[in-house]
């Protein structure tokens, strides 16, 4: 199949070449690559900011930043990681590149809108950069809580505008994916034949449509408050600040499922491929994705147990929070059961996926500590919360993203990275991760508040240790990224199916040609049927 020209060599639309062939492209694969490099750039920046925060916290008192600078830095770290990395990363990169191929389509349904989403993403990023200058970067934390976000003199309006535009971009991507799955999947591709990664993006798309407009209106209201002083959230003038928190979390809690669902989709692809075994509970995983989408939209107020809600509300939201843990657990058990008696072949993607299962489980279980109304009062707004959501967001989504990078990298570029370096960096990241966040669980339980520039002497040891973990982890991540980038140029050339995967993207050449499929894709009755693979190898 080497005689087929890859999409790198065939610009679409065909009349452009060079840089224009990328900037005006409507090819979903090229847009995926555009996203890949812009998102990785932001990711690297936010990693460094995060490292600086940890270095500041290693010692009592002012180490490298003033309190104001520290407030700005943790806000930037949160805003960039959430709006510019975690939410768009997996859908925009792998969703764009892999989803149309997995359903047997040539492209997404609205290719031009797809490109528009990328430009909106870049515009949002640009605004975020501009907000650093002038009145100075925002210092509200990524939650933009009123009344501080309305009264502070920093560039909150610009940052909010950036978040608004980024929300619009992710919404358009969601519309694109849902329409693509409904209208462009190959005629043989019945709903129960769709690969799980695509299913997870389908569920994510619906959450994005359901939730993103709420954050859009909430952020607009904060801007209106800053410009016109209406008083909708100002208790002196009849407003209710808790209502802001409700509106904010009505989006931002479902948003954590926007972040984690695509990651779960990646893991559901990797585990069966390297266990050489059909995934356990395909339908259960599909329905748990949809259940997470529904139930995850109804638990937002568990972020607000201490903000003055009624006890009834606290009880209801605590109960719902426990219910949403069930579908996540279904997935974890299904992955483990898939590995059971499988013919496991170790590889970097599987290594990252296994780390994911462990770290995500810790994150999920500590989430129950926070979801229960009693213990939450004790650990609310402490380092425990920070450790918990980093275990889910970074140990979960982040590791799934790394696993996805290693899994699909040969498909994206047709070349393999160095395995040894990939394993080594994976070990460094995981070990650093544990050293970084486990101490935060402990000092959090002891009462170390989050978002504080300074702390009491009893928290020094934990913060000091976490700093070392952060350094190890960051070294590991840059090692991993550099290894991947070197792989593009110097890696060994791979064939269309280096892992022995069975979903459609492994039937097309690496990198795929412009129209994805050289011949009509052969769609199986069941997406994870490895029997064909075993027959071939006999």
């Amino acid at each position: 199949m080497t005689d087929v020209k890859s999409f790198f060599e065939t610009p679409a639309p065909p009349k452009y070449s060079g840089i224009l062939s990328w900037l005006i492209t409507t090819d979903h694969k090229r847009i995926g690559i555009l996203y890949l490099f812009s998102i990785l750039g932001w990711f690297a920046l936010a990693i460094i900011i995060g490292l600086l925060i940890r270095l500041e916290l290693m010692f009592i008192g002012e180490t490298i930043f003033s309190p104001e600078q520290y407030n700005a830095l943790f806000t930037l770290h949160g805003v960039i990681m959430i709006f510019l990395f975690i939410i768009p990363a997996i859908p925009a990169i792998f969703g764009n590149f892999i989803l149309p191929i997995q359903v047997g389509a040539d492209d997404v349904f609205f290719p031009k809108i797809n490109l528009l989403s990328w430009y909106l993403y870049m515009l949002g990023g640009l605004l975020a950069i501009i907000s650093l200058f002038g009145d100075g970067p925002p210092d509200t934390g990524w939650t933009f809580y009123v009344p501080f976000s309305v009264s502070t003199n920093t560039n909150v309006s610009l940052t909010i505008a950036a978040a608004f535009i980024l929300g619009f971009s992710s919404m358009l991507t969601a519309i694109n994916f849902i329409t693509t799955i409904h209208r462009l999947k190959a005629s043989q591709m019945k709903w129960m034949r769709i690969p799980l990664f695509t299913w997870s993006l389908y569920a994510t798309g619906w959450v994005q449509l359901l939730a993103t407009p709420i954050i859009a209106i909430t952020l607009l209201l904060v801007m209106f408050e800053r410009w016109f002083n209406i008083g909708l959230f100002d208790p002196d003038r009849g407003g209710d600040p808790i209502l802001y928190q409700h509106l904010f979390w009505m989006y931002s809690h479902p948003a954590v499922y926007i972040m984690i669902l695509p990651g779960m989709g990646i893991i559901s692809e990797i585990i069966p491929t390297f266990a050489r075994k059909s995934i356990f509970g395909y339908k259960a995983i599909v329905f748990s994705s949809l259940m997470i989408a529904v139930a995850g939209s109804l638990v937002w107020a568990h972020h607000m147990y201490t903000s003055g809600m009624s006890d009834t509300a606290v009880f209801v939201f605590s109960l719902l929070t426990f219910i949403v843990a069930i579908p996540s657990a279904i997935k974890v058990f299904s992955w483990i059961s898939t590995l059971y008696k499988g013919s496991i072949q170790m590889s970097p993607p599987l290594f990252y996926a296994l780390c994911f299962i462990y770290l995500f489980s810790v994150g999920g279980l500590t989430g129950l500590v926070l979801g229960a109304a009693g213990p939450d009062i004790h650990v609310h707004d402490t380092a425990f919360v920070v450790a918990h959501f980093h275990f889910t967001m970074f140990g979960g989504t982040g590791f799934a993203f790394f696993a996805g990078l290693h899994y699909w990298w040969p498909k994206l570029f047709g070349r393999m990275y160095n395995f040894k370096t990939a394993y080594l960096s994976g070990v460094l990241i995981t070990v650093g991760f544990m050293f970084h966040y486990v101490p935060m669980f402990i000092i959090g339980l002891q009462g170390m508040p989050r978002r504080y520039h300074d702390y009491l002497p009893q928290f020094e040891q934990g913060n000091y240790l976490a700093g070392y973990g952060a350094v190890i982890m960051v070294i590991g991540m840059f090692m991993m990224l550099i290894n991947l980038l070197i792989g593009i140029k110097k890696g060994a050339v791979t064939d269309s199916n280096p892992w022995g995967g069975v979903t459609l993207e492994w039937q097309v050449p690496s990198p795929p040609p412009l129209h994805n499929f050289v011949s009509e894709p052969k769609i199986m009755d069941y997406p994870y049927d490895f029997s064909r693979f075993f027959k071939k190898n006999k």
């Binding site: 329409t179 002083n229 009849g238």
Partner: protein
């Protein structure tokens, strides 16, 4: 959107987008519901200061314009380009009339000192401040949507004129129409909440 020949899919995409618009205004209606519960008496007092005549007039105007857009689609299906252009033009005219009315209404309120952060509102009951705050935010955002909808109608009009929208390929016009109906429908909710039931 024109690049695909699957009109059903294009419309599906538009419906999904409309759904996000409903959620956007839904957030504001949540605010309305909560504050109405909290300040029922002030909301009633505030509602009586709004002019039901202008509200009704604008409702009628929007209903007529929605009809005109729907009729324009039928006209295109029957290949009568001229009638379609006239109908689209008249719905645009209705959009303008709506905005003019809104302008008169708002500037009247400004004259009597009712606008966000005005002294009169600061001195009056907090509930009244919230009521008019919501009034300006909701009708203002709706006004922005009217302008976006009119832009879509203008674009469709140009495409009809240049024969890009024909009886075979009118999905763009249909989608613009869907958007316009949604803007109309949101007004149908705003109108009773601010002008009628209070």
């Amino acid at each position: 959107m024109q690049s695909s020949s699957d009109h059903e899919g294009s419309k599906l995409g538009m419906w999904l987008f409309l759904y996000t618009e409903i959620m956007l205004f839904g957030g504001l209606f949540v605010l309305y519901a909560v504050y109405y519960h909290k300040f029922t008496d002030d909301f009633i007092a505030g509602g009586q200061q709004l002019d039901t005549f202008f509200g009704t007039l604008n409702t009628v105007i929007l209903l007529i314009s929605s009809f005109a857009v729907a009729a324009a689609i039928t006209a295109i299906q029957n290949n009568s380009k001229k009638i379609a252009i006239i109908l689209l033009g008249s719905s645009l005219l209705c959009g303008f009339l709506f905005l003019i009315n809104k302008y008169i209404e708002w500037s009247h309120k400004f004259e009597v000192g009712i606008y966000p952060n005005s002294e009169k509102l600061l001195e009056s009951d907090p509930g009244l401040n919230i009521f008019f705050g919501l009034y300006y935010v909701i009708t203002g955002l709706h006004g922005v949507h009217i302008i976006i909808g009119m832009a879509l109608l203008v674009w469709s009009l140009v495409r009809v004129k240049s024969n890009h929208i024909t009886d075979q390929n009118y999905v763009l016009l249909e989608n613009a129409g869907l958007y316009w109906h949604l803007v109309d429908l949101i007004w149908i909710f705003i109108f009773p909440l601010f002008y009628l039931i209070l």
